[in-house]
Subunit: 440 residues, 4 copies
């Protein structure tokens, strides 16, 4: 391991060394200024380092406690002082990775107080520090959010809580979080559903709870406009965990919800690979469905374990999977306010500070490699041309007329009577081979 | 086994013998005239026998062929003659079970012809026979549907096919199926998504395909009104199989789809336990969500295997699970046009004709037992009272005002600042004990 | 809720009130002195209350912290004093439930010290208290065990750790735990695999680790004999969580492992429903396979959620599932040293102390109800008679000869040439109906 | 698509064109004579084309029938003549792919007769043709096997059938299959468990059935020795499908079974990726566990869908996954009698004959690419060096003594008392980055 100063023992930032490098602290593919489809690689990928997994999680799991023993997690002492120490290390990592963005929950950065007012005061005190830091660092805020799930007051949900006082408390907390996000120039505000869901239907009135959630979001959207926050509100679909059932199950479910409560215009999605597979979908599926319904916002970049039934939030390393996602994204012109947020945590056995750096480097590189594959695949029309060809029949005027609502059922049925449609090969293996050509 | 005449060797219908009976060919709980919440048990449960699993499936699975060797499935001979033999046996079973309803796909009852026109002619010829039969049998038609998935022409979907000719052919087939359903007095018309989904996203334009599906259903709804068909169009959500991804994934997904294409009013849902669990939901969840969004239509009654990843369509035997579903249904006044359709198949080793009777009897009895538990639980308010109590805070005027859109985010947030909400027990185990009291 | 004295607000023990009772603090079926197949119900079920879920778990999950706020979990203060307070409440619950047994991990009952020696001293100090308590309470120790997974030293396993010092430390800890178990009259000693498994194969030498684990158990068996501990060592199969892969995956895997390291005679299994379903098996399957290989030891009684991919350890409430398990157990004469250990935890929203009592009562009752169903089913031979009939052909001498190794392949093959075997119905639905007759 | 003669429209064999080729009918990486760790690429990979998926499966699934319409699957006509046509096409494909091996079930290649004797006669008639073909083609037989699952006689299992006549019939069929395999120079004989498992435990005596299976295999091993068949008997683990539970669940389960019936020496494993993931394991895990217990035999090369619960048998395309498997294999010196058998089927929409060629080419290329990555990774010691370092402590004499059984539990425990073991980083992300360096 490299030996240097600071928490990570690294004096300089991680650099691009090219594909031949074997240095785990250098990039092989991530060359931030390289142009990819008209934007720099940095601007296409828009990486954000998250506060919670990297600086707030102590390494525990349901069967064991802390493994990391970070200095700022020590027992006792002034919580605010420890929060400031943590902020120092966070910006040290941002510098080392030359990260364009970061992201946080309110409680990640500042300690909860005895009262909500005190919690908000703490949050703003840390935000002051962030503002100072951001004058000398180039790292900007991708998004902020409020943690409405860890404290026991939220054990039965926040906006969907059976107790309206909890709903009100959540409003207070979210207001402070979006205010701080706004002041720090955050480009989005995220609402992850946390415990908006249920443990058992025996004690749950799902209809009531969904109405509460719809109203909560509508009020938040009104407030966002009032304060001039330009970015979207992002919902992050997840099907289960911590709740048995989470209301924001997946893209399709959230789409139904947003339509019901007339929120489609102002609310977009923050999608994650691990949440996708827990819902039984590929990452690619979720992204394509979001684009199909004009709901694409941002991405949490990580990976789950296909053989496990819980959220493992591992660092994304699969180039093929990301190639398909970035291909779709590039097709639509790339991110606007969104980015690739590292909602990924090192394994609890990765206890060396440098493991945190190495993990980010390896995953950023896998993303960069995927971006390059996606660019070539899109430029070549390798998938787009066969796709257009497959649906070409529908481009004919008579068939466009059907889709445009200019034909009756009987008329089309009548036409069907004379047909003997012959199936054409779906060519799946050919297309898989094409993708492999761009990935390996 | 009882020995008698006919295919099933049973001369008389299955009778109610009471809880003490050990006769597998008698009902212990299903006493059709017994009153349950203001309707007869028969009228609450509205059982339908399905044609496909009971009379059309030969016992095959992906690793092996026919096991049942039904006479009407013999190789060779006139297909229409065999279809008539099958109809005789079907009505024999309806009589034995005293079934109030049945259901079918077009190709279950009549052989496909060389052309669509010929297939439709065959269908109508069998429909004539059904009409005759229904004059002397009390069994009515719960719903009809068209099989748009078995023939190779539909291998890439029907309404969502990349080839518009297949779309037109499907319109022709569905028109005939709904016409026949209407003529036979069917109370609903069902659209199961079959292969409306994809095998791989590499060759799929999901947005195009969903638009096609939306247009198809809109045209069908227009047609239904035109011919005066009073019942609803029912979509049957299923997440996967045969396709890797089925567009009608689950209740929530279909809700989003129906809103997008403005179909909420005319299209309802036909829900199934096995499809629910494949999507990661409990049966109860799907039913409650459907009621919450005014989409409840009918139920396919069966069960899946929690440990297997495919549709096993076993006969429903779990009284507890059904008690919760029927409790919700009774709470909303019970079925209107819907019913309990036996989309359930005997295992391929259950090769004796009487196995088919015994399976239906056992499952009808489990349903009846569940209905009785649900009735008592609802009458006692055993779950409803604790539920109302849990949400009582929201019934206050000030909180209703929030839900009614009469409060701003800032105002509620301000109120939250002064609160220290105290969590209350969710009492899950207490409620589980209550349910057990009604089930065992 | 009943109001009385003590932590649970209950002055008297829970009593049997009969099936008609609606009191959540009374038994409807668990009548401890009732005779079931020659033993009292209490002696057939041998309930044990576990220390960890009931008294040590604070209500946290991966997304949130403590909800229960038990007095003995307060921050600060003398750990040993708090351990003693906890012991008081534990024996209060044992009394209220009239529990015949309890169970614990070393760290559940006594605080870890700075050194292993100090931890062992603490453990023995609490054991002294237990000894005193057990003089006046009738609750005995079903089993003890050591927690080799929570402390960060065990993050990469205990016996399977790449560091032999951790192996040695684990030996020290286990020695103390079995010594204490022995001194308290424990009837079994349990080894749950904890983190004996891997997070990634990239850093794991599975062969080495299995050899380490085999040696560890062999040494423990030798030691057990040395100190005269009569009960078996019990392994508890679990497929995953906390590790990605746990070496003691399921009954079949452990059977292979025990044979390889020649441990079949001394080591038996402690099976759990939730672990069974995580491995893709029914509880019934695991129990039957254990009996088939003479490995049955004891049961952890709980239930998982079929729709979730992690260990939920909910209180067992499904009478049908337990009926089948108890049927098998009764068939083999019931427990010897084993029992029904409540490895079950109330949901984190069940924050009232009485929830803990109510949960145990409801689940004990479900077990009792299942035992009664199993007894009747076995007495009637309801499943056993059809089973014997199905395999009757194998009881013929010529076929027993095959199984006894007295026929050659060619000879049997030759006989096969002349046969046209006709399949017989598997009668699955009939048998499901039979089971329902005993359960509902 | 290329246009030429024959069923596939291809006159010449597929050739190696190098990494830059975009021709789907050429190899980019599979250069059969290239040396990889001392053997040619062809000899390291030992590809086999399977008969069943490629030539016998008509494209059906549980919801639809034939899509491929292969000429030799036409209705009517002489079955043996059609089998000969099929053999022509099979050897045409072997030639086009320059396949070193093929594999088959008895019923894939020859039609079943009215009696077992007739079936065997048919099989031998086709085997005569194969013998002729193999004189002029270089393709050899990797393995043969018997299909003991498709015919209804086997609906309740073959060796595990409750009816001993079915057991005898299975012996007859297997004897013929291994005889033919032997005569054709097959290098292994495979037993896939087919329906050796259960649909429901209600009608199953698992202990009896496992004893039957153990005896069956013992007799087969005796027979194999008798006829001088040198290759191993291979069991193919699979956890479920077609049965609810398959007895040969996974590597670990089969290991336990083989030990119990004393078959470890003569029976090895044929492992498959899709079966591995259905059992909850990675492919890599199964392979490593097989090597750890000296059970590695051969591989079925395909892939499942991580999001589906059934056997999809898709063509293997994931280079990373195979790199890890081949790395293990190369470490152990590569295949002896085993090979990479393409137990993979084109999707049912891939209806063009060339799809079959393209699929094999793409997958062979993915395997070749993985082999090259594995070679470099192994040669560099990229994973092996960190692994050895991690366990180095165990190589010390004192710790080897523990494993060798030269220490008592008390002695090691005593040593543990003085230790404070410090955990070391597991470095998972570093290692993932290393693997990516070799794959992308």
């Amino acid at each position: 391991m490299t030996q240097g100063n600071g928490f990570f023992g690294l004096d300089s930032s991680v650099r691009f060394e090219g594909e031949g490098s074997t240095n785990p602290l250098a990039f092989r593919f991530y060359d931030k200024n390289r142009q990819v489809m008209g934007r720099s690689m940095e601007d296409q990928l828009r990486f954000a380092i998250c506060y919670w997994h990297s600086f707030t999680w102590p390494g525990g799991d349901p069967f064991g406690g802390e493994t990391f023993n970070r200095p700022w997690m020590r027992q006792g002492g002034d919580p605010l002082a420890k929060a400031k120490e943590k902020a120092e290390v966070a910006f040290e990592l941002f510098r080392i990775l030359d990260a364009p963005f970061f992201s946080f929950h309110d409680v990640d950065v500042a300690p909860e107080g005895e009262t909500l007012a005190e919690s908000i005061k703490n949050l703003n005190e840390i935000a002051d520090i962030f503002e100072e830091k951001m004058k000398t660092h180039r790292t900007r805020l991708l998004w902020g959010t409020a943690n409405l799930f860890s404290n026991r007051r939220y054990m039965a949900g926040a906006a969907t809580n059976p107790d309206p006082d909890v709903f009100a408390y959540a409003c207070g907390q979210v207001k402070a979080a979006i205010d701080v996000t706004h002041r720090l120039g955050g480009e989005n505000y995220v609402c992850w559903g946390g415990r908006e869901g249920y443990e058992t239907l025996l004690n749950t009135d799902m209809k009531r709870e969904l109405d509460q959630l719809g109203r909560f979001l509508s009020m938040l959207v009104e407030y966002k406009h009032k304060i001039g926050f330009k970015g979207p509100i992002l919902i992050e679909p997840k099907p289960k965990e911590p709740s048995k059932h989470q209301y924001d199950f997946d893209t399709a479910t959230v789409f139904g919800f947003l339509q019901k409560y007339d929120l489609v215009k102002d609310v977009k999605l923050n999608l994650e690979q691990n949440h996708a597979i827990l819902a039984g979908h590929s990452f690619d599926h979720e992204v394509k469905l979001a684009y199909a319904n004009d709901l694409f916002g941002s991405l949490d970049i990580n990976r789950g374990d296909d053989l496990l039934g819980w959220d493992t939030d591992q660092f994304a390393m699969d180039v093929k999977e990301m190639t398909l996602v970035f291909h779709e994204m590039l097709k639509h012109g790339g991110f606007s306010t969104g980015g690739l947020n590292f909602d990924a945590k090192i394994r609890r056995q990765s206890i060396d500070p440098q493991d945190l750096v190495i993990a980010h480097v390896a995953s950023m590189d896998a993303c960069a490699r995927a971006l390059l594959s996606a660019e070539r695949m899109l430029t070549d029309g390798a998938l787009e041309k066969p796709l257009a060809d497959r649906y070409a029949g529908w481009d004919k005027a008579e068939n466009q007329a059907i889709l445009a609502g200019q034909s009756s059922f009987e008329a089309v049925a009548e036409r069907g009577l004379g047909l003997q449609p012959q199936p054409r090969s779906g060519r799946q293996e050919y297309l898989e081979g094409v993708v492999n050509r761009y990935v390996y």
